[in-house]
Subunit: 137 residues, 2 copies
DNA sequence: GCTTGACCTGGAGCCCACTCCAGGTGGGAT
DNA sequence: ATCCCACCTGGAGTGGGCTCCAGGTCAAGC
């Protein structure tokens, strides 16, 4: 039940001041309350919503789709089914994204190992015949 | 040991023709061989390199850093240590990326569950006091 | 012999998501 | 009083990564 200055919100949410203003402009944030001087005063609710935006953004949802979600939330209780659908769809995309990352990561790790093998071989002048092999005079 | 037309490479790698030309222009691909008519003919090696590019790109490496890696690869065997370092650093970033995604995903799933709970409650007209509770006349 | 289609070039354009700027206001500290 | 700082606005600019375009060249099939 308190209010926050733009600076505090930027600090807390990690969004820049410009980004906060931008989000309000495009309607991703509803118009933020102002004090007498016209300066923004964010509410706890705004902070909460920004947390949601953070999640969606960080998981790669484009702004256009976040706007669709925003519309749904503003549309009231009748839209809850649609919100679930939207979020589930996104959840599956995130899952796919992670799976893809893991695959690519595995390939990168194989490459690293490949390079390590090359280095290892290089540091082994007499490859497979050193300690116990008596064939070298 | 065969050659591929741009169309085939696009098909196989998922990069568009324009992107392939773009990558060559900026030096992410070394100059591709040409036939008599000046048309590109990609080698198996090119395809392999594009696979690597795909991995790095899909895991979020910016082009500028892929160019650094490209330079190292062109720099010959002495750069293998540096290549390992670069790829390991990236590998850790991918790991962090995945962890972050998982966290955000969990939050999204909680939100979905929250919405589901609301719907469930709605479909239960007499919330917690129906079958066995005799306090309702 | 003409069309079609895959390719070529240099350069311009586009989209997304910010980010920056100039010029201005109001309020608190020294 | 004056300074500084955090904030305001509308609009322009940026950066990354492509993507598109006009105008042109070959090669093969009908």
């Amino acid at each position: 039940m308190s209010v926050y200055t733009p600076g505090q919100v930027a600090e807390e949410t990690g969004f820049s001041l410009d980004t906060l203003r931008y989000y309000e402009r495009i309607g991703l944030l509803e118009p933020i309350e102002r004090n007498a001087a016209g300066q923004r005063r964010f509410s706890d609710e705004d902070i909460g919503w920004l947390g949601m935006v953070r999640c969606l953004r960080d998981t790669g949802m484009p702004i256009a789709e976040m706007l669709r979600f925003t519309e749904l939330v503003r549309g009231g209780g009748e839209t809850i089914g649609d919100r679930i659908t939207l979020l589930e769809t996104h959840d599956h995309e995130v899952e796919a994204q992670i799976a893809r990352l893991r695959e690519r990561q595995a390939a990168i790790q194989r490459k690293i190992q490949h390079y390590r093998d090359i280095l290892a071989q290089r540091n082994t002048p007499t490859p497979r015949t050193r300690p116990e092999d008596p064939t070298t005079p």
